[in-house]
Symmetry: D2
Subunit: 281 residues, 4 copies
């Protein structure tokens, strides 16, 4: 059995879902899970279907047949085959908790992707990469950002990457790079965005006396810490906690939020519309 | 525009969803929201569709047309018109927090049902009923349970009730009554079921030293506190909290959980299968 | 038995707690609950003691005896008698959910204060005040803010208010007023501060695509939505939720957060230092 | 500076806290953090003080001086020096998520203990022990329980263990062993106790249709899954989740709950009274 995800969004009007499911039915596939939602606030129809097929579906053929339906309803759509595992490159600096989380969860079969390479501007985490038998690339900050990003592109091509994950990678990527990977770079911010953008968010939070701290995974764009939010989580903090304890507690939320964001992304449950995400399914 | 909910469950096999959505499409209706899920653990297909129609749909006609589809797939199904508000009778004893919650939320238009009557074995909450202009029936525990339940049936007929809600009604209903209202009596238990069944759950919880307490809304059946669970929620408690404070904190969870259960029930999002519920949508 | 709260904060150094508890011991009182914490981040000692005394403690006498201890350690301190219930004036506009929460919880004996008056710039909630037998003052926005605030002062004097609570009072108080009630005006903001200050926070949150919304209770100061945060809480939201549903869900958090803030304030568990609060106890 | 924790519990009466803090003051120590609470439900006074001393405090000397105070108030008390790190032996079987959590958190300096040895009835996790440079002992289930427990005692003596942690160790310890380590063996149960005792708790939970699953860390006693509860946490589950997903989600709660329990235990914040725990501080 071959599995596929079909994602569709378009202006809302009657008949879209019947048209789509009939189209799929004629392809002789079995819909395993289908979620459809229309957002009245932006008059947009969203559909995500997970289906199985006995024979392989060629994307070009699918496209040529589906195109009349798609243009009738002004759809943005995409078809994803699950035959090939999603390939995720991980960028790190010196902090290990997010990296370990991704590697352990993937080792246990819970993340369901390939992690073919780890890239870092430091050498500190090379032993972790080695423990999990994953190629490690040291791309130091001593060379220019432009040169670093050339390296990243080479690594991405060599390992056929679909997505980059910044697992506490403490460098800012230039617009030249992020614009080539739209909706394909996931970053984790150790603050509850949109509050506490930028540096030292836990210090900001402590000084403000907030009672709840959080972390935010989002797509990296040219606007620092402003990209579409994928997932967030929070934890209550006591006022007796020190700034150092905020940092400590925050690490658990960071790794959990980042892991969840990657899962949702890989399962094609995230739609980006109007500068924000919509999780369907 | 007329709105409807169509709920379907059946053994899982290919083609169900396309068949259903095509059927609806031929009726010239617009599907606003559709959620479909197949549970592999019990090989069951679930579908809930919310659709709009310019003309009224007659349930008998719908049924006669849909019957061949339904029997082909061995469906259990139901069609609910939203033209008429769901009618909920509330049973209470002396405690007011759940009753106030239902009445206030309904007054604010958030519960979206009719509450045409309040029934109690005590007179304490009659002023609350009066404040909200709702008929109040005193059915005292001095008469037998059988006689009380005769009264309940009369009240249900007079007010065309669809569902009973036990909003901290501290009497046990007999099987003779619950079996006439299958999946139509919602009870709130002030414990986190299946732990702490029966009386004084907060005392049980305190003595056990649990760190989290909860409440559970479930359908009332002949087995006390064993009916299918509709919704649950919990709150962390500090060990410095007294039993009295457990009771106090629990009240907030009880009203929240009960309200949520009623909402889900009214929106026809709850399927009962294999002695448990499945929330779809 | 008479009960008291003693609150102390000062620069941290050895011996403070022994000095204080010995002082109390010599007064022949029984300490029921004592929490002490030193914040290393700001080198500050905090202590909150709840004690009982067979005889009434005169605050002036206590002060004259305690003054040498207090000045030795450069303490800020306060002694609160629980013989007299805290008196809270409630300001509202048209929205009832926070007001009902305060009145119901106080009626059930859970809030443990007096609510001797309700003030509003509209007449909409007068029936609620009447249902709970509480004097209602209509201070319309047609008169100037200065005139309104004169009325508030008169009402506060007549009812011997200790604290004002803005229970979704949709007017901004001028600095002339807030500066007379430092740490004595509690406001509820329907956003998760410091994000989403100002108007329509739920719209801001929806457009940003946040996955968690919240509410914040804080002391009102001249800086709009910037006063020290007392309590916060959040709820996860699904992306399928509309802006209207954000507003609906937010109401539950608002009333919960506001209630908690009032309780903490009345129990003298809130210290304001360095522009933020510290909850001790 | 030397640091100590002093834990005291006794029947509640006036003057205990002043007596204790004066006693400490005379020893010329500085109290950093003190939490005192009296539980009215069982008339018991609890105190936990964290203090610093320039000179080492000899426990025998402390005891001989403190004994008159202690017997006057019928105290149970203990003094713990922080000069020596708490030594924790970890028991595992084949599942690695709890073990990794303990080792990673300890490596990051967040757990603040020594983990001098790992013991297992299988060899699967030996490479993990090796990666963190910790001695690994294989004590197979092929020998009798009595023989295994003799091995455990030898290992405990060799490594001067204070506490055993069963990090998903899937064997039952006999009363002969647990009774020698009262309040010193921490177990993690993958269910929300007291519900779902025994085997396959996630299956039990799924079949019951609960909406929230959890995990419980408790002290191991002769009664299986009945020992005093140290910490608990929960996660909401969707009805669309399969049993397999319950297991997956549960792993995150298990490791989090176990870690928290160990931290609280090491910080001497757990008192066992009346068959349950009280967390003070």
């Amino acid at each position: 059995m071959h599995e596929y995800h079909l994602n569709i969004s378009c202006p809302d009007k009657p008949g879209i879902i019947a048209t789509c499911t009939s189209f799929l039915s004629n392809l002789d596939v079995n819909i395993v899970d289908l979620k459809q939602h229309s957002s009245h606030d932006i008059n947009t129809f969203f559909l995500r279907a997970h289906f199985e097929s006995a024979k392989t579906i060629n994307k070009a053929e699918f496209s040529s047949e589906f195109t009349s339906v798609a243009s009738e309803f002004e759809m943005k759509w995409d078809l994803h085959s699950l035959d090939r595992l999603h390939r995720v490159g991980v960028m790190v600096s010196k902090t290990s908790h997010c990296l370990y989380e991704l590697l352990l969860k993937n080792q246990d079969g819970e993340l369901k992707c390939e992690i073919p390479c780890i890239v870092s501007n430091h050498k500190d985490l090379e032993p972790v990469a080695k423990h999990f038998n994953i190629p490690f690339y040291h791309v130091p900050s001593t060379i220019s950002k432009a040169e670093q990003e050339v390296e990243f592109e080479k690594i991405a091509q060599r390992h056929l990457l679909d997505t980059w994950v910044m697992a506490r990678y403490m460098q800012i990527l230039r617009e030249e790079f992020t614009s080539k990977w739209p909706g394909q770079i996931i970053n984790i911010h150790h603050g509850f965005l949109p509050a506490f953008k930028g540096a030292k968010p836990y210090h900001q939070a402590w000084n403000k006396g907030v009672k709840i701290i959080g972390a935010t995974a989002h797509y990296a764009t040219q606007d620092l810490d402003q990209g579409p939010i994928i997932s967030q989580d929070v934890i209550s903090v006591e006022d007796e906690a020190s700034i150092a304890e905020f940092v400590e507690m925050g690490k658990d939320i960071e790794r959990r939020v980042l892991l969840k964001a990657i899962k949702l992304h890989i399962e094609h449950k995230i739609f980006i519309r109007e500068g924000r995400t919509f999780l369907i399914g």
